[in-house]
């Protein structure tokens, strides 16, 4: 009996090592929650500034109503909010993940996290440049769903190197992005859903699934 316990323990240890060495498991649920809250705040700022209701905002036809100068102003404003949200979300997300890794006594910059970072970075940078190009050609209404789609694809690509659940979040973002493509009047709403609500929901789910007991 003693021996079987020992072998079971060996098998568990091997399993743990295989997972720990190939995947970055310190991704914190709180990172998702904070990124989501920041995105929601960003969406709220845009909503208040443009003072239009959620359902008609950043519609192509609506932007046509503005003069060229206002148009450019709105464009710059949206870009500024977008970049601010991105930077703040990345910072807060990194903070909670680094904190979790410290608590687990694991290193942050290892083989697994490097692979994850690379897998995420390639589609994100390509997608980011693509969206900037859309902005450049004044196709703002297309840039919103595109950010969702590229972000979702980046998550799908990165999910191989981290917690499996990231894959589900990736699928949700891609699907939402495609819906948004053919539902152009509701860009801010779908964007807030994708980057805000989905992140908060995913983050809370992860937090209760993996971290509640250890935090």
């Amino acid at each position: 009996m003693y021996e079987s316990n020992e072998h079971l323990q060996t098998l568990t240890e091997i399993r743990g090592l295989m997972e720990r060495s190939s995947k970055f498991l310190s991704l914190s649920g709180l990172s998702g929650v904070s990124a989501g809250v920041i995105a929601l705040a960003g969406a709220a700022v845009v909503h208040l500034r443009l003072r239009t209701d959620w359902f008609s905002l950043i519609n192509y036809q609506r932007l046509e109503l503005y003069s060229n100068a206002t148009h450019r102003q709105i464009q710059q404003f949206l870009l500024l909010v977008g970049v601010t949200v991105l930077v703040l979300a990345l910072l807060s997300g990194t903070y909670f993940t680094v904190r979790k890794a410290r608590r687990q006594g694991l290193s942050i910059w290892n083989m697994a996290s490097r692979r994850l970072a690379w897998a995420l970075a390639v589609p994100l940078i390509a997608g980011g440049l693509f969206c900037l190009a859309l902005f450049h050609y004044q196709l703002i209404w297309l840039a919103f769903p595109s950010t969702l789609i590229f972000y979702g694809l980046a998550l799908l690509n990165g999910s191989k190197y981290t917690i499996r659940d990231v894959e589900s979040l990736g699928y949700c973002e891609v699907i939402l992005g495609m819906i948004a493509l053919f539902w152009p009047g509701n860009n801010l709403l779908t964007w807030a859903l994708g980057f805000g609500v989905l992140h908060v929901a995913y983050g809370l789910a992860m937090y209760y699934k993996y971290e509640r007991n250890t935090a």
């Binding site: 009996m1 060996t10 098998l11 240890e13 090592l17 295989m18 290892n110």
Partner: protein
Amino acid sequence: MRDLLVHFNKAFESKARLNIMSVLMVNDSMSFNALKELLGLTDGNLATHLRALEESGYLLIQKQFIGRKPNTTYSATDPGRQAFTDHLNALEEFIKNL
């Protein structure tokens, strides 16, 4: 019971060696330092186990330089993968039959 143990691989008798192989099964290659950190072994201890596994032909050592620093990476060979799988299967059988 005895005949089940026949399939247990002598090279994997030490837990450290089994752990090294399990890491190399899921990673194409791994540096000495990364292995050390993952397994929590001392330099000398890890080096001894790595040498033993290399002598069994279960892993491949690649030495190269990154700038001026020597960097040694290890990867599992096909016989190594086979041996590891066989050993795990034997371990599983052993537990099932108890």
